[in-house]
């Protein structure tokens, strides 16, 4: 069986190789962070939780089996921790108030990757920002499994079979989830796309 490079790295991690672990962290920090951020809508909390996901990966390294793709295993852990956080916030609603995005200049905060302002006119930028706000709202309104499926497709280009494993459902159910999510997104964004 041919291992993918991540699996080989993870096998090194199982032998306490910290350099291999750091390589995996650097590679996956962004998709994990964005997947979590889209679920809890708080950049600071998303960063903390993402870091905890990787710490959990380290703690669970002995239980990793190379029969599973590393990314599937990682995103399953990330999803479970994210669901736990969402449940915790549901039990303690005071914690779920979205904090304003802080001005991140000290390197300790996550920052938005914004497009080059010189590439578009101010009007185009305003329309684009409005569309992105609508995308965020539409995504936040999706059921958790639909949102997770779309994020795995977008950030990691994960095959349907792997998404099915992360969502713990069949391949046909996964295809249905993806289709419904996209149809909802299309319906929600239709007025803004036409304009």
């Amino acid at each position: 069986m041919a291992f993918d490079p991540d699996t080989e790295l993870m096998l090194k991690v199982r032998r306490d190789d910290r350099a291999a672990f750091e390589t995996l962290v650097v590679k996956y920090q962004r998709p994990v962070l964005n997947m979590i951020y889209r679920s809890i809508s708080d950049p600071t909390e998303a960063e903390d939780l993402s870091q905890n996901v990787f710490v959990q990966v380290w703690k669970s390294r002995g239980r990793y089996k190379p029969s599973a793709k590393f990314s599937t295993w990682l995103f399953t852990i990330a999803r479970n921790m994210c669901l736990n956080e969402v449940r915790r916030r549901a039990r303690h609603p005071a914690d779920s108030l979205d904090k304003p995005l802080t001005d991140a200049t000290d390197g300790n905060e996550s920052v938005w990757q914004v497009p080059d302002p010189g590439a578009k006119s101010p009007v185009e930028n305003a329309l684009s920002a409005e569309l992105h706000r609508r995308v965020d709202a539409a995504l936040a309104a999706l059921p958790e499994d639909q949102r997770t499926a779309l994020l795995l497709l977008r950030h990691h280009h994960m095959p349907y079979e792997e998404i099915a494993k992360v969502l713990r459902c069949s391949l046909s159910a996964t295809k249905s989830i993806i289709h419904r999510a996209r149809a909802t997104l299309r319906d929600q964004l239709k007025p803004y796309l036409q304009s």
Binding site: R18, F21, E22, V25, V26, Q29, R30, L33, N34, Y37, P43, A46, E47, S50, Q51, N52, F54, V55, W58, K59, A104, G107, N108, E109, S110, V111, W112, Q113, V114, P115, L131, H132, R134, V135, D136, L139, L150, L153, R154, H155, H157, P159, Y160, K175, I178, H179, R182, A183, L185, R186, Q188, L189, K190, Y192, L193
Partner: protein, 167 residues
């Protein structure tokens, strides 16, 4: 390919999960069907808007903070050896082992006491006074003298003592 079949393949077409021949066939249908072209436009446009939305960029020290997090975990690990979750994990098997041990000890003790009883019987049987009482044909009575209730009408011990006294 009809419109229903075409629209059923929207997702796989968007995700590049179709073979070249099927993709080509779908594109050909798209070029000749205004309804499907409109449906595809909305579907593809929404996905493009989603895909172009800005991403959150991890902080520059993200990996460093994770690495210091695992350092902390490693340092705390020995102190947590006897933490409650670990004890809870061992509680069931240890309890089961203790129960088995107790059961085995009980059985052993039971047989051991039977062996003691047999030895006591042999000791009693060999006593001259007991032989004198002629009770050797009922070892159970000898072994369980203290448990017999009510006491026998003719207490052999008392009779023996009386006989000795009278003589």
């Amino acid at each position: 390919m009809n419109c229903t079949q075409f629209q059923a393949e929207f997702d796989r077409l968007l995700d590049g999960q179709l073979d070249a021949r099927t993709s080509e066939s779908l594109r050909a249908h798209l070029a000749n069907c205004p309804d499907c072209a409109a449906a595809w436009g909305g579907y593809e446009g929404a996905w493009a808007a989603f895909a172009s939305a800005p991403e959150l960029e991890p902080s520059s020290n993200f990996a460093a903070r994770v690495m210091s997090g695992i350092e902390r975990v490693e340092r705390e690990l020995p102190a947590r050896v006897w933490s409650f979750p670990r004890l809870a994990r061992w509680f069931a098997p240890v309890t089961a082992a203790l129960a088995l041990f107790a059961a085995a000890t009980g059985i052993w003790t039971h047989y051991e006491s039977d062996a003691d009883q047999t030895a006591s019987q042999e000791l009693v049987v060999n006593l001259p006074v007991v032989q004198h009482l002629d009770l050797l044909n009922d070892l159970d009575i000898i072994a369980n003298l203290d448990r017999l209730a009510p006491p026998p009408e003719h207490d052999p011990i008392e009779e023996m003592m009386s006989a000795l006294w009278n003589s």
